[in-house]
């Protein structure tokens, strides 16, 4: 179980302290899927980065399975069982897809395992194994590879920051299937940041972050109806779209 207690993040912006995350607390149960949504610029991605240790929090605690990991480095958190998929994954000149996935898995992966991982995210495996993770891959291909990298080894908690962004419609269906399977297995807790209704509707619980604070949190059936029609900018059936 992940417990997040009173997270605060006030970075300096041109010497002025800014309130990005303001006293956020929540928990994620084992095997639970929590979808974080909310308007752009509300602090969702920052929240995810604080959990992974990519941004340094100003105060608060992160506790995983009873162990306080607040002071852990990124690598220590990874080794403690947190996986992270970036919204905009970086590219690596000279690194092959096969090597990238092996690094993600922490062990040399066989061609067969690499193929399974790639097929799972809609990439035709044989075409990609020896390709480089560089500018020759499209944004959508990079995103799918990013998701495959998190699935390359088991974690206690996987954090996906807008996994759907940049992915075409056909691959999106495959992606949703992947998340459904992951969720059904209940082996890993999932935190997904998303604006996509299909993903939001997969959630056990939904958390809405707005202006650095929790605007709403609760079971899907409680929170979701409130999202539809609300001006959160986070779902496709907003007032504007309806009009």
């Amino acid at each position: 179980m992940l417990e997040v207690r009173n997270l605060v993040f006030h970075p300096l912006d041109n010497g002025v302290e800014k309130s990005i995350i303001e006293d956020i607390s929540f928990t994620v149960e084992d095997g639970e899927m929590l979808v974080i949504t909310g308007p752009n610029g509300g602090g969702k991605s920052t929240m995810a980065k604080l959990l992974m240790g990519i941004e340094p929090l100003d105060s608060g605690h992160i506790i995983m399975d009873g162990i306080d990991i607040t002071d852990y480095s990124i690598a220590q958190r990874a080794n403690a069982g947190i996986g992270f998929a970036f919204q905009q994954p970086p590219r690596f000149k000279g690194m092959t897809v096969a090597r990238f996935l092996s690094l993600a898995a922490g062990a040399q992966l066989s061609e067969r395992v690499c193929c399974d991982l790639l097929s799972g995210v809609g990439l035709c495996a044989r075409e990609y194994l020896n390709r480089e993770v560089d500018g020759t891959l499209s944004g959508g291909e990079m995103k799918r590879l990013e998701i495959a990298s998190v699935l390359a080894k088991p974690h206690k908690i996987c954090i996906f920051d807008e996994p759907e962004a940049g992915i075409d419609l056909w691959s999106f269906s495959m992606l949703v299937k992947q998340f459904e399977e992951l969720h059904a297995n209940k082996r890993e807790s999932l935190i997904l940041i998303s604006h996509q209704e299909r993903i939001i509707q997969m959630a056990d619980r939904i958390m809405v972050i707005k202006d650095g604070k929790i605007d709403a949190i609760g079971k899907r059936e409680q929170v979701f109806p409130g999202l539809v029609g609300e001006d959160t900018g986070c779902v496709c059936r907003s007032k504007q779209h309806k009009a």
């Binding site: 992974m52 480095s73 990124i74 000279g94």
Partner: protein, 308 residues
């Protein structure tokens, strides 16, 4: 079979990635003389009579054979200048694995200047691999100054794959390629310098034949207080295509200077250059941290793959 001592064997393991064996066509130059050599039906190696070096004759019948011609300098204070000429006949397909390693455990400088000339016949396909490496606990410098000249006849293909792995204190590389009609050149240059090392690489590619094309890729990592200067130059004298790409990672207090030059003397000469120098991307480091790799391990992985 000649006896090869342990120091030489370990240097050979660094510079000959295919694995040096006293089989097929080979010549091992050790401390200024030929320690062992062998010919095959299609590839003959002859010692030069007027100066240091060898002539390598590769017949047109050669298909997929390899020639291994490593050089090891294992004495301190030696200057070894050697002239190697390669005559590749029409239609031959060959892989030439060269490379030079210096083991200097003394206080005097050790230096090897390899002057290589390739005469590449029509329709021939040559892959030339060259690795440079230095080691030894001595204070004497390890210096390598290769000169490579390649003359390509029509429809020939030449791949020049050069790498300076580590331990070379000073290097000045001079490369000149004269390209005929419909020839194709691929150059992959990889270089790493550290401590107070210095590296200069000058490359002149003359695209003289119509339909000739050249792809020059240079990747380097400069660490410590080392310095690197790259000056690849593509001169288009006919309808041709050339692309020069130089990428460098700079670290610590190193200096890198990249001067790609493109020179078109024909209206249908299409030549492009790209050059970039920058530190290791922080996002790449963070991504590898999320795989559980420490800062140091992540940095090593990025460099290893960049120079892969």
């Amino acid at each position: 079979m000649a006896d090869i001592d342990q120091v030489t064997q370990s240097v050979l393991a660094q510079i000959d990635s295919e694995g040096f064996k006293q089989e097929g066509a080979y010549n091992l130059r050790y401390n200024g003389y030929s320690l062992c050599h062998g010919n095959t039906e299609h590839i003959k190696i002859e010692k030069k009579k007027d100066k240091q070096g060898i002539d390598v004759y590769i017949s047109g019948e050669t298909k997929g054979e390899q020639v291994h011609i490593p050089v090891v300098v294992a004495v301190s204070g030696m200057t070894d200048e050697v002239y190697n000429d390669f005559y590749v006949e029409e239609g031959a397909e060959v892989v030439i694995v060269a490379g030079c390693g210096i083991h200097n455990s003394g206080c005097n400088d050790s230096r090897h200047d390899g002057i290589h000339t390739f005469h590449v016949g029509k329709n021939a396909n040559v892959r030339y691999e060259e690795k440079h490496y230095g080691e030894g606990e001595g204070t004497g410098a390890r210096i390598l100054n290769p000169v490579t000249k390649i003359i390509m006849e029509e429809n020939s293909v030449f791949t020049l794959d050069t790498a300076q792995i580590k331990g070379v204190d000073s290097t000045k590389r001079e490369t000149e390629v004269i390209m005929g009609e419909n020839t194709k050149l691929f150059v992959i240059e990889k270089l790493m310098t550290h401590d107070k090392q210095n590296a200069v690489s000058n490359m002149d590619i003359y695209l003289n034949g119509a339909g000739s094309s050249a792809q020059i890729t240079s990747r380097s990592v400069a660490k410590g207080e080392s310095g690197q200067v790259f000056h690849p130059r593509a001169i288009g004298n006919a309808p041709c295509h050339a692309h020069i790409q130089c990428d460098s990672i700079i670290m610590d207090q190193a200096r890198v200077c990249s001067i790609p030059e493109i020179d078109a003397n024909h209206v249908d000469a299409a030549i492009i250059h790209e050059a970039a120098i920058g530190r290791i991307n922080n996002e790449q480091l963070i991504k590898l941290n999320t795989f559980g790799l420490s800062e140091e391990a992540a940095e090593a992985v990025i460099i290893e793959n960049f120079l892969n």
